[in-house]
C-alpha cells in the first residue's frame, strides 16, 4: 500500500509543508508539499535529510535513567512508566521543598508549547522560557516598540519586492525554502539584493551590492542612511506623515551622523551610501530592509533592529506590496483560530520570573518567552529564588547559552534535570532522565496557525508509526501531568484527541487537512488600506520612532552612537558566528547525510591575519577566549574582515552515543561570555574576543 501524507517538516523550526511518500508502512521519500504555492515540491538539504533522522540508530530509542555521575554516560533503559514515576517523585519533592517556582522549563518554541506552558501554570511556576530570546529577543522588543507587533507577526513580501537589504541575514544559507524560492524568482524578475556582512557568504555572492562592513558598526551605517534619506527627501513623505510619530526627533537626531562620518566607522564609502539611498528611494515602497532572523550580536542590539525597521517606515514599505506587512489572522475574516490549552482557566502564579522579565529590573523583553541566558546566574546566585529542577524540551542550555562551563556549573546545583529530545543532545547527556520524543514524521502535532496575507492553518500529520519506543511531546507531558495529579488540565489521551479539541471552535476537522495538509480561511490576500487601515498596536496607533514603550521604561528612543568595543588586547579577534544551509542550530550535526556534507566547523580567519600569525589553510590551531580554549582547523580566506574570525554554531558535541558528531569541531558557546542587551533581551554573541595560534 502506498500513500502520500501531507505534513510539516521539523528538521528546523521553519516548519515547511512537506509530503511524505509511504510504502508498506515505511517512509520512502520526502518532498516539499506540492499543494502549497511557493513550496511546489522543494525542500532544503535538512528537509531532504529527514529520512536519515527517522532511521538513525544514534538517536534516543527508549526512556533512559542516569546511573552514574551526571554526564558520565552510564544509563539504564527504562519503561515509560518507570521514567515518569521517577520524574514525578523528584518533581514533587522539589516542589514541596522549594515551591512550584523552583521548576524551570526551557523549550525551543514549537507547536506544542502551549501544552508545556499549561503544565507549568498547573504546577504554579512562572518559569517557562523559550529559546527565542537567544535568537531574537531584542528584535521582538524592537518590533513592539515601533509597531506594537512582535517580529513573528510581521511578514515580508519577498515575491514582489524590488530591493531586499540584508544586514548579515544570510538568507541563502540560513535558509527558509519559501522566501528563498520567492526571492529567487523576484531576482529573476530584476529584484535587487544588497548584502551587508563582515563575512562574504553565499548570499553575498548572489548580491548586486556587497558591503564588507566593519563588524558591529551597522548602526552607524543606518544612522547615516537615515541622515541621507531625510536630508535628500528620499523618504515617503505621505506615509511618514500619516503613520509615523517622532519623525522630527529622528531628523534632528541623525543630523550629525553624516555619510562621511559613517564611512570612517563602517569602511563603506559615503558615495556608495548615497547611491544606495537614492536607489532604494526610487524603488520604494517595494523595498525591504530585512529586520533579521538571529539578532543577538551586540549589547545595543535593539537599537540596530529599530533603525532597520525605521528605514522601512521611511520607505513607506510597512504594509505595502513588495514591502512588509502585518500578518492577518482568522479574525480578519471573522473566523476563529484553533484554541490552545492555555486558553483554559489556569492557576495564576503570583511569583516573578527567574529572569525578572516584567519587573523594573528587566521591563521590556517578552514574558511569553523570557530570557533564557539569565538561567545560569539565577540558579547560581539563587536570585530571585532557588531554581532546583530543569525540564529541557528540545532546548540545550549547554550549547545555546554562552559560557558553557558556567552553565554546567549552574546545572550541577539542580536536583533534577529532565530532557525531552529526539537526539542525544549535550543536555540530554547531562540529564537525569531522557525522554525520547518521536520524530516529526512519526507524530501528529497541534495545528499551526499560519497567519499572513492569507490566514491558513497547517497540520503535522503522522506519516509513519514510531520506529523506537518514543512518544509525541503532548503525550509525554500528559503522562507526566497525570503522575503529578494534574490530569484535569489535559483533556486528551492522544495527540489526535488534542487536535480535535483544539479545532472545535474553528469549524475545521482533522480530515479537512488530509488532502492538502492545510486549510485556508480565505483565498484572497488581505492588505490593509495604506491611507486609513493599518492597525498598529502602539499606544499612538502609529509607528513610534519615539517609543512610548522605551521612554516609559526609562530608555531613550535614539541613543547616541557608540563605537563597538575594542578587543582587550590588539592580538585578539572579535568572534562572530553563524549558520550554514546544511545544519540547524545544534540539532542536525549527527545526521548521517548532513554530517557527511559539513562535519566540522573550521575557524574562518582572514588571509592577512593568518599570514601574520603564520597560519596556513587547514592548519590545526588553538583558539582561546577568557572562557575556553580549544583546537580547531583554520579556514584561511580573503572573504572575512581581518578584525574578526568566524565559526559555525552547533558543533563540538560531547556525546559519545552520537558518534558522527562527537568531538567534531568546537562549540561557540564554550568560548563566549554571557552578555545581554539589557534593554531588548538578546544575548550579545558577537562581543567575545579570541586569540588564535597555530597548534604546535
Amino acid at each position: 500500500m502506498e500513500k502520500d501524507i501531507n505534513s510539516l517538516c521539523f528538521m528546523c523550526s521553519v516548519r515547511c509543508p512537506i509530503q511524505v511518500h509511504v510504502k508498506a508502512g515505511q517512509a520512502v521519500s520526502i518532498i516539499g508539499n506540492p499543494h502549497v504555492p511557493g513550496i511546489e515540491g522543494s525542500l532544503c538539504p535538512k528537509g531532504a535529510a529527514g529520512l536519515s533522522l527517522l532511521s538513525d540508530t544514534q538517536r534516543v530509542q527508549t526512556p533512559m535513567i542516569r546511573e552514574g555521575e551526571r554526564g558520565a554516560g552510564k544509563w539504564r533503559n527504562a519503561s515509560w512508566d518507570e521514567a515518569m514515576e521517577y520524574i514525578a517523585q523528584r518533581l514533587k519533592s522539589v516542589i514541596s521543598a522549594h515551591g512550584g517556582r523552583s521548576v524551570a522549563w526551557g523549550e525551543r518554541t514549537q507547536l506544542s508549547t502551549h501544552i508545556s506552558k499549561t503544565f507549568m501554570r498547573a504546577i504554579d511556576s512562572p518559569n517557562h522560557f523559550t529559546h527565542d530570546a537567544l535568537c531574537k529577543g531584542s528584535l521582538n522588543t524592537a518590533c513592539r516598540s515601533l509597531t506594537g507587533y512582535t517580529d513573528p507577526q510581521i511578514g515580508i513580501d519577498y515575491a514582489n519586492t524590488r530591493h531586499l537589504v540584508l544586514y548579515g541575514r544570510n538568507m541563502f544559507e540560513a535558509m527558509e525554502v519559501k522566501p528563498v524560492r520567492q526571492f529567487s524568482r523576484a531576482m529573476e524578475n530584476g529584484a535587487r539584493l544588497t548584502y551587508i556582512d563582515p563575512r562574504a557568504t553565499i548570499t553575498a555572492s548572489k548580491a548586486h551590492r556587497y558591503w564588507m562592513i566593519r563588524p558591529g558598526t551597522d548602526l552607524a551605517l543606518n544612522y547615516a542612511l537615515m541622515h541621507i534619506i531625510i536630508k535628500e527627501n528620499l523618504y515617503d513623505a505621505a506615509y511618514v506623515k500619516k503613520w509615523v510619530t517622532g519623525f522630527d526627533a529622528l531628523a534632528a537626531f541623525v543630523e550629525p551622523y553624516t555619510p562621511e562620518w559613517a564611512a570612517a566607522e563602517t569602511g563603506i564609502s559615503a558615495r556608495e551610501m548615497v547611491e544606495f539611498a537614492e536607489e532604494v528611494s526610487r524603488q520604494k515602497p517595494k523595498v525591504v530592509f530585512h529586520f533579521g532572523y538571529r539578532c543577538a550580536n551586540h549589547e545595543n542590539e535593539i537599537y540596530l533592529r529599530r533603525s532597520i525597521l525605521m528605514l522601512n517606515a521611511l520607505m513607506g514599505s510597512i504594509e505595502a506590496p513588495g514591502g512588509m506587512f502585518i500578518k492577518k489572522g482568522p479574525g480578519e475574516v471573522g473566523a476563529k483560530p484553533a484554541r490552545k490549552l492555555t486558553d483554559q482557566e489556569l492557576p495564576k502564579c503570583a511569583d516573578i520570573r527567574f529572569d525578572k522579565v516584567g519587573t523594573p529590573d528587566f521591563p521590556l523583553p517578552d514574558p511569553a518567552h523570557g530570557v533564557a541566558q539569565m538561567l545560569p546566574e539565577a540558579i547560581l546566585k539563587e536570585d530571585p529564588y532557588p531554581i532546583k529542577a530543569l525540564m529541557a524540551y528540545r532546548f540545550d542550555p549547554l550549547m545555546s547559552i554562552a559560557d558553557t562551563a558556567r552553565t554546567r556549573k549552574a546545572l550541577d546545583k539542580l536536583d533534577l534535570i529532565v530532557t525531552i529530545d529526539i537526539n542525544y543532545s549535550d543536555i540530554a547527556w547531562y540529564s537525569d532522565v531522557i525522554l525520547p520524543e518521536s520524530t516529526y514524521l512519526e507524530r501528529m502535532d497541534s495545528p499551526q496557525q499560519a497567519n499572513g496575507l492569507k490566514p491558513q492553518m497547517f497540520l503535522r500529520q503522522q506519516a509513519v508509526g514510531p520506529r523506537y519506543d518514543t512518544r509525541p511531546g503532548p503525550e509525554i507531558i500528559k503522562m507526566l501531568a497525570h503522575r503529578m495529579g494534574l490530569s484535569q488540565y489535559f483533556p486528551y489521551e492522544t495527540v489526535e484527541d488534542l487536535v480535535r479539541w483544539q479545532l472545535e471552535p474553528t469549524g475545521f476537522t482533522v480530515s479537512d487537512f488530509a488532502e492538502k495538509g492545510f486549510v485556508a480561511y480565505t483565498d484572497k490576500a488581505i492588505w490593509w488600506d495604506r491611507d486609513t487601515g493599518i492597525k498598529f498596536k502602539t499606544p499612538s496607533g502609529r509607528i513610534e520612532f519615539v517609543s512610548a514603550l522605551l521612554e516609559d521604561a526609562g530608555y531613550p528612543s535614539f541613543p547616541a552612537y557608540q563605537a563597538p568595543n575594542a578587543p582587550k588586547q590588539p592580538d585578539m579577534f572579535r568572534l562572530i558566528v553563524g549558520r550554514c544551509a546544511q545544519h540547524t542550530h545544534i540539532s542536525t550535526q549527527n545526521n548521517l547525510y548532513l554530517n557527511e556534507l559539513v562535519s566540522e566547523n573550521p575557524l574562518w580567519i582572514s588571509k592577512k591575519s593568518a599570514e601574520k600569525l603564520g597560519i596556513y589553510h587547514n592548519q590545526p590551531i588553538v583558539v582561546s577566549s577568557d572562557r575556553y580554549e580549544g583546537e580547531m582547523h583554520a579556514k584561511v580566506t580573503e572573504f572575512i574582515r581581518p578584525e574578526c574570525v568566524f565559526m559555525l554554531h552547533g558543533f563540538g558535541h560531547q556525546v559519545p552515543f552520537a558518534g558522527r558528531s562527537y568531538n567534531k569541531g568546537q562549540s561557540d558557546a564554550a568560548f563566549m561570555e554571557n552578555i545581554t542587551d539589557a534593554v531588548g533581551g538578546s544575548p550579545a554573541f558577537h562581543e567575545t574576543f579570541v586569540r588564535v595560534r597555530p597548534l604546535r
Partner: protein, 171 residues
C-alpha cells in the same frame, strides 16, 4: 545523451545541496558515494563582488558511454528505451573499471554493498510521471529536466525579463 536533458541554471543555484541529499536519500546510500555532486567554485573577487559558482554533477548519460564499454560484466547498461545508463547490482562485481573509465567521475562506490552506484535520472520516478528527486526538491528551482525541446531558454528569457523590469525601474 539520453533522450532527457538536465539543465542547471547556475545563476539561481545557491549551493545548498538539497539535490545531493535528496539523491542519496532516494537510493538510501551510506556515507561515501555521491551519485550527484555539487561542486563549489570560488569564492573569488570579481571587482568588489565575491563570486561563487556551483556546478551540479549528475550523470550526463553519454551517448557513447565509456563506462558501459569498460564494464566487463555487462552490469553497466544503457537503457534502449530512453538512453539512461544504469548499473545492475546483481551483475556488478565491483571491479571499478567504470569508475576509472568515466571522465566525469560519475559512477560511485558503495562501500556497504561493494558495488557501484550511479545517477540513473531517477528513471523509476520518471516512469511514474515525476521529476528526478534532485529537480523536485531544488528550493530555487534552478534544475530543469525534460526532453531537450522542453528545456526553457532560461538565459535568454531571464535577460528579456530583466530588461523589462530594469527598464521600468532604472532608466
Amino acid at each position: 545523451m539520453s533522450k532527457y536533458y538536465l539543465f542547471h541554471d547556475q545563476k539561481k543555484c545557491i549551493g545548498c545541496q538539497a539535490c545531493v541529499v535528496a539523491c542519496k536519500s532516494r537510493q538510501n546510500l551510506p556515507k561515501g558515494p555521491f551519485p550527484s555532486l555539487l561542486i563549489t567554485i570560488g569564492p573569488q573577487w570579481v571587482g568588489t563582488r565575491p563570486q561563487m559558482a556551483f556546478a551540479f554533477m549528475p550523470c550526463f548519460q553519454c551517448e557513447n558511454p565509456w563506462c558501459v564499454a569498460a564494464c566487463p560484466t555487462g552490469a553497466m547498461q544503457r537503457r534502449p528505451e530512453d538512453g539512461i545508463i544504469i548499473v545492475d547490482p546483481n551483475v556488478c562485481v565491483g571491479c571499478k573499471t567504470c569508475m576509472s573509465a568515466c571522465p566525469w567521475g560519475s559512477p560511485q562506490w558503495n562501500p556497504e554493498t561493494g558495488k557501484v552506484v550511479k545517477c540513473d535520472s531517477c528513471y523509476d520516478r520518471l516512469e511514474q510521471g515525476l521529476q528526478p528527486a534532485c529537480v523536485t526538491v531544488c528550493p530555487t528551482a534552478c534544475l530543469y529536466f525534460g526532453t531537450p525541446d522542453e528545456i526553457p531558454e532560461v538565459r535568454r528569457e531571464r535577460y528579456a525579463r530583466a530588461m523589462i523590469h530594469d527598464g521600468e525601474q532604472e532608466n
